[in-house]
């Protein structure tokens, strides 16, 4: 009896405390009753899970067979099946290296490790030597390509972002103005025009004999784009440091670069990790735009699979799956950044 009273009390407090509240509750319940059952019917009850073609699915519900059939393509694009172990091993090496770098808190060590990793990653993924067959970048695709573009974009943007942030704080007026204009220029234009620039304008600026492929051009422009956003995030960290830090460092007789390297940047970067993670989330979502210039990232593969004549009308399943994957990635990263923020506040 006590529990009934408690739950009634809870209901009254949280759902029916006054007229407006009651009305809201009732209308929202009606909305849920109207929208949820058909959704669940489509997703689970009427859905088809087994089979191998569109004919095995009924038209009442979702055809998850579609996702299963296209799963390898959604993950890796047209990366040859026999070579996919290279992607797996790159992933495993990346995790190993991250753990090793976390063990030893030495910036120089991490940088060397990172340089080593980039060489290994390019060798493994692109190949062409050491007995590994070459996998051209136009075969790269799917979630793999999305992750490659987002990580390379943010990591490559990092050094330039730091320099731009420092430049905006510089006491040299020319450098300060240049950095300010550079940052505002990149932040003021949409990513899509930047990608257009990468695909049609960049080749015009390069001599004939240099031919950079489309992925590399897109990566280059994404790096420049991301560096402007990163610079603003890092600048926030620089501004949050008390000015006494730099004054003390000057008083010790450190040069400008020593001050930055040993005193200012370690503290500033530590503070802006949540902001950097948020920038990464934004970039991860924006990576989908590369499909407009003809690179087949995760969403690009979903879109092309949905127009496959054998699977017509299965776009919804593709979008639902893409939404789920993106949601898992972005939600977990945003939770991580929130966790870091809370840890810093303590």
């Amino acid at each position: 009896m006590y529990y009934v009273a408690v739950s009634l009390r809870w209901l009254k407090d949280n759902l029916f405390s006054n007229a407006v509240n009651t009305l809201t509750t009732l209308s929202l319940t009606a909305f849920l009753l109207w929208s949820l059952p058909p959704l669940i019917d489509w997703m689970i009850i009427n859905a088809s899970f087994v089979g191998s073609s569109n004919n095995d699915c009924n038209n009442e519900g979702a055809c998850w067979v579609f996702i299963r059939e296209f799963f390898p393509r959604l993950m890796f694009g047209s990366y040859p099946e026999s070579e996919r172990w290279r992607i797996y091993s790159t992933g495993i090496i990346a995790i190993l290296f991250i753990f090793t770098a976390r063990q030893y808190h030495r910036t120089a060590f991490s940088v060397i490790l990172f340089g080593l990793f980039s060489i290994i990653a390019v060798t493994l993924l692109y190949g062409g030597f050491l007995g590994l067959s070459r996998v051209d970048t136009h075969q790269w695709g799917g979630l793999f390509l999305t992750i490659v573009i987002a990580t390379v974009g943010i990591v490559g943007a990092f050094p330039l972002g730091i320099l731009l942030a420092l430049g905006r704080q510089s006491h040299l007026p020319v450098i300060r103005a240049f950095c300010h204009v550079f940052i505002e220029l990149w932040r003021g234009v949409p990513l899509i025009t930047v990608l257009f620039m990468a695909s049609v304008m960049l080749p015009l600026f390069l001599p004939d004999n240099i031919d950079i492929n489309k992925l590399l051009r897109a990566l280059l422009c994404i790096m420049l784009f991301a560096s402007a956003y990163l610079a603003e995030v890092i600048r926030g960290g620089l501004q949050s440091l008390p000015s006494g830090q730099q004054e003390a460092a000057s008083a010790l007789g450190l040069t400008y670069w020593q001050q930055m390297r040993y005193i200012i940047l370690p503290q500033a970067l530590q503070r802006v990790i949540p902001g950097i993670v948020n920038t990464f989330i934004g970039l991860f979502k924006d990576t989908t735009l590369v499909l407009i210039i003809g690179l087949f990232d995760f969403l690009g593969i979903v879109q092309s699979a949905a127009t496959n004549p054998e699977w017509l009308g299965r776009a919804n399943e593709g979008y639902a799956f893409a939404a789920l994957i993106f949601w898992i990635f972005c939600f977990s990263m945003s939770r991580y950044s929130l966790h870091l923020e809370r840890k810093q506040d303590q």
């Binding site: 932040r187 025009t193 304008m201 924006d286």
Partner: protein, 389 residues
């Protein structure tokens, strides 16, 4: 005759240190920097000109007056295939501004509602709002756009099986058809009368608000009736009617526009909701308690105490979201809504090959929109003297 100097200073004689001061070094660094930038810039421009010459592309903005020769499905200003590329630019720009304006309007409304719901006492509203925010924020905008366009609007039935609302508004796979108001007499006399009446009513409401609060509603209703009487007879609604193949009459909102506005506003609303929530919850609890103890009613507390203080924190990031929305409207290219990027940086660029000029103009447009919004923002902040706090 050397003066004694503390050993901390270097032992280099004073005379040779003249040029090695902080100031001269600063000048040298900056001069070197400028020289580098100029060198890189001229190298790039040199290669560019060489490449353009090789490909036989004539530089310059003369192409803007050439005949475009392609049709555009949706345009706010008059446009036909025989118009110039310059006209295409204006069509694209107005279409971009239309999408951005509509997106901002709906995103603000939805964002504020969801943001307030997130803080509501109602358990269901709170949970639904946080579900909405988490779902919409963590999915790329392009996916939203594809969903609305390819999964919702395109599979709609054709004109014959349109979904109709009260036989006035029709929705099918060709677009949303809504009634259009058309004036019977061509002179705009009635329009001016209407504008005048609205102004008088607004003034009346403003005057009454400070003295006779009770009569505000009364005045607004009277004003509305006066406007109705004055204007209604001259306007008739042109209701879309089904002809053999499609609807005719009324205003057509193409599915691309609907999808774009839906995707942009729902996506941005999830960010605005978080901004609103953060703004409102930043207002000190004591403020609300003080207002209550003064005897203010809940809606007055919200309107007079909470919102003015919350706005201070809400407005700057809110403008940032408006900017993002405007920039994101360029995703229109993905579903072929004729915005600036789609028809100017897309179709026009492909036809003329003037990549540098076109991308320069396009980027300049977005840049000036961004800069003017952030400039007006800083003026607004200064007028409220918020930046000081």
């Amino acid at each position: 005759m050397e003066r004694w100097r503390p050993s901390l200073c270097s032992t280099v004689p004073v005379s040779s240190m003249k040029f090695n001061t902080r100031k001269t070094r600063a000048w040298i660094y900056q001069a070197l920097f400028i020289a580098c930038i100029i060198a890189i810039g001229s190298l790039l421009i040199h290669t560019l000109l060489q490449n353009l010459e090789q490909q036989g592309i004539v530089t310059g903005f003369n192409f803007l007056s050439q005949n475009a020769g392609f049709g555009i499905v949706f345009s706010l200003i008059d446009y036909s295939e025989s118009d110039s590329y310059g006209r295409v630019f204006w069509v694209g720009l107005t279409n971009t501004l239309l999408v951005a304006g509509l997106g901002i309007l709906f995103a603000t409304i939805i964002g504020f509602v969801v943001g307030v719901a997130r803080l509501s006492n109602n358990f269901l509203a709170k949970q639904l709002a946080s579900f909405y925010i988490s779902l919409f924020r963590n999915v790329p905008l392009l996916l939203h756009l594809f969903f609305w366009y390819f999964a919702i609007l395109q599979p709609l039935p054709g004109p014959r099986q349109s979904i109709d609302f009260f036989d006035m508004v029709f929705l099918n796979n060709r677009g949303l058809y809504i009634p259009k108001l058309i004036s019977e007499d061509q002179s705009n006399g009635w329009l001016w009368l209407m504008a005048g009446l609205i102004v008088i009513t607004l003034v009346l409401i403003r005057v009454l608000r400070s003295t006779h609060k009770k009569y505000v509603w009364f005045a607004s209703i009277i004003g509305a009736i006066m406007i109705w009487i004055g204007v209604a007879p001259t306007y008739t609604a042109e209701i879309p009617t089904l002809t053999r193949f499609n609807f005719s009459g009324g205003i057509v909102i193409i599915p691309e526009l609907t999808a774009l506005v839906l995707a942009l506003s729902l996506y941005t609303a999830s960010y605005i909701a978080e901004i609103v929530r953060a703004g409102i919850s930043s207002v000190d609890k004591g403020q609300v308690e003080a207002a209550q103890s003064l005897g203010l009613r809940p809606n007055h507390t919200l309107r007079l105490i909470i919102i003015p203080q919350a706005m201070r924190l809400i407005v700057p990031p809110l403008t940032n979201q408006y900017l993002n929305l405007t920039k994101n409207s360029s995703l229109a290219a993905a579903i072929a809504y004729p915005d600036l990027v789609s028809i100017f940086a897309g179709t026009t660029l492909n036809q003329t090959g003037q990549a540098v000029e076109i991308l320069f103009i396009t980027m300049l447009v977005y840049l000036s929109i961004s800069l003017s919004i952030s400039f007006s923002m800083s003026l607004y902040e200064r007028s409220k003297q918020w930046s000081k706090t």
